[in-house]
């Protein structure tokens, strides 16, 4: 049984049909890279999966429970969100909280876990992303790469079953990308289930197990990472890979 399955997501903004009948499944331990040109609907897909955006149609099956995306109750949303983590392109750390407080707030305020216990957990998570020495810093005292690592620690704190990443390195200066990708690679190696929207071809190829290519609100190709890069099925995928290669050169 898949850990997470998405069936028939549709989403329009006004006249613009951004997601046109998207379905896919995630097995435990999968690391799925979602690729695609700008505006293809990748962010919208992730946001619909975590209810930040309400899809017009579609269902989500999470741990065997099925919910309609546009009819799910607030309580069920919250319950599923507690089992998922979300890492934003622009970090979205709580600006009035220190790195440690960012990691623990969901535990203390959200789940009423005692402060000492939450802090112990928070410090362990900060250590995991190499940010222990910045625990008392506020977001605006941290570099982009450091903020994103704290954001990953925050996502990890809830012991999620899956973490969604929306272009976690796109807002970063080139020299800071590596530190974040390294943390993500470690997570993948530890067996964390992840769905990663990214433009980092190296990550998609070397770290992820599966790749999904989106364009204009549909999935063009879904394949194992190896097949996707070495032996793509679709003409459009070859075109996309060729363009990406040219970009790099």
């Amino acid at each position: 049984m898949a850990m997470l399955e998405i069936k028939g997501i549709r989403k329009t903004f006004g006249d613009l049909e951004v997601l046109k009948d998207i379905s896919f499944r995630v097995e435990k331990g999968d690391v799925i890279s979602v690729l695609g040109p700008s505006g293809s609907g990748k962010t919208t897909l992730l946001r619909c999966m975590n209810f930040l955006e309400t899809a017009d149609e579609g269902t989500i099956i999470f741990d065997g429970e099925e919910f309609k995306l546009n009819g799910i109750s607030k309580a069920d949303q919250a319950r599923i969100r507690r089992k998922t983590g979300f890492v934003f392109q622009n970090y979205n750390l709580f600006l009035n909280k220190t790195a440690l407080e960012n990691v623990t707030l969901g535990l203390t305020a959200g789940r009423k876990i005692p402060k000492e216990q939450a802090e112990k957990k928070g410090l362990a998570m900060l250590e995991r992303v190499g940010m222990l020495d910045r625990a008392t810093y506020y977001p605006n005292q941290l570099s982009g790469g450091q903020q994103q690592r704290v954001a990953i620690a925050r996502a990890l704190a809830a012991d999620p079953e899956i973490i969604y990443f929306d272009e976690p390195t796109s807002a970063l200066d080139p020299e800071l990308i590596g530190e974040v990708l390294n943390v993500m690679r470690d997570l993948a190696n530890e067996g964390m289930t992840m769905v990663v929207v990214t433009h980092e071809m190296g990550f998609a190829r070397n770290v992820s197990s599966r790749v999904v290519l989106m364009e204009n609100g549909v999935i063009v190709e879904e394949n194992s990472a190896k097949e996707f890069f070495e032996n793509p099925k679709e003409e459009r995928t070859k075109e996309f890979l060729r363009l990406k290669k040219e970009e790099r050169e």
């Binding site: 975590n50 209810f51 930040l52 607030k74 919250a78 969100r81 507690r82 998922t84 983590g85 979300f86 934003f88 622009n90 979205n92 750390l93 709580f94 600006l95 009035n96 909280k97 220190t98 707030l105 969901g106 305020a109 959200g110 789940r111 810093y137 506020y138 977001p139 605006n140 005292q141 925050r154 996502a155 809830a158």
Partner: protein, 224 residues
Amino acid sequence: MISSDTWTLLAESFWKILLPGLKMTIPLTVLSFGLALVISILVALIQFANVPVLKQISRFYIWIIRGTPLLVQLYVVFFGLPSVGVMIEAFPAAVLVLGINEGAYCAETMRSALEAVPSGQMEAGYCCGLNYVQIMRHVVLPQAFRTAVPPLFNSLISMVKNTSLAANITVVEMFMATQRIVGRTYRAMPLYLEVAFIYLIFSTVLTWLQRYFEKRLNAYGGLR
């Protein structure tokens, strides 16, 4: 230039003016501003959360209060309401009117401060498993307060000065006390300058307080 009997007058009247300042102007300001803060947070939150009906009521309240003079509002409550059977003592009437009046202005300050908090803060809160109330309490409101401190101090300082209008409804605050001394001595110029000076001291203390507050909040990592 200033004759010695003017000095004597100023010295003798100083305490007679400052005392009602301490006993009336300051309590009036503190109570009215406290009321204004409570009203403004409620009214701003209602609008921010888009609560139907209450939101329309909030806009109506702000429209009426900002569109009519404070002095007229004082008269309506103190001299007008008794004719429909509602009698309110001068001091509570002044607190009520000043608080409700300033509440409308502060509500707009609070609303814009709430709207200035990036929407990603709310989304991150949801993704961490917090509910709306928890996010507002721990994330959005503290950040909004930080933005609102300078304009709120503006309101507080103008409130101190607006308390002088309460003299019109028989509250013996600093200005009324001064008027009485002028009535006895016919020395308008030195006495009104003296009370102006005392208002200036009050406002200056508040300006210092504002600086202290902003420093404290900046130690907070200085948002943005």
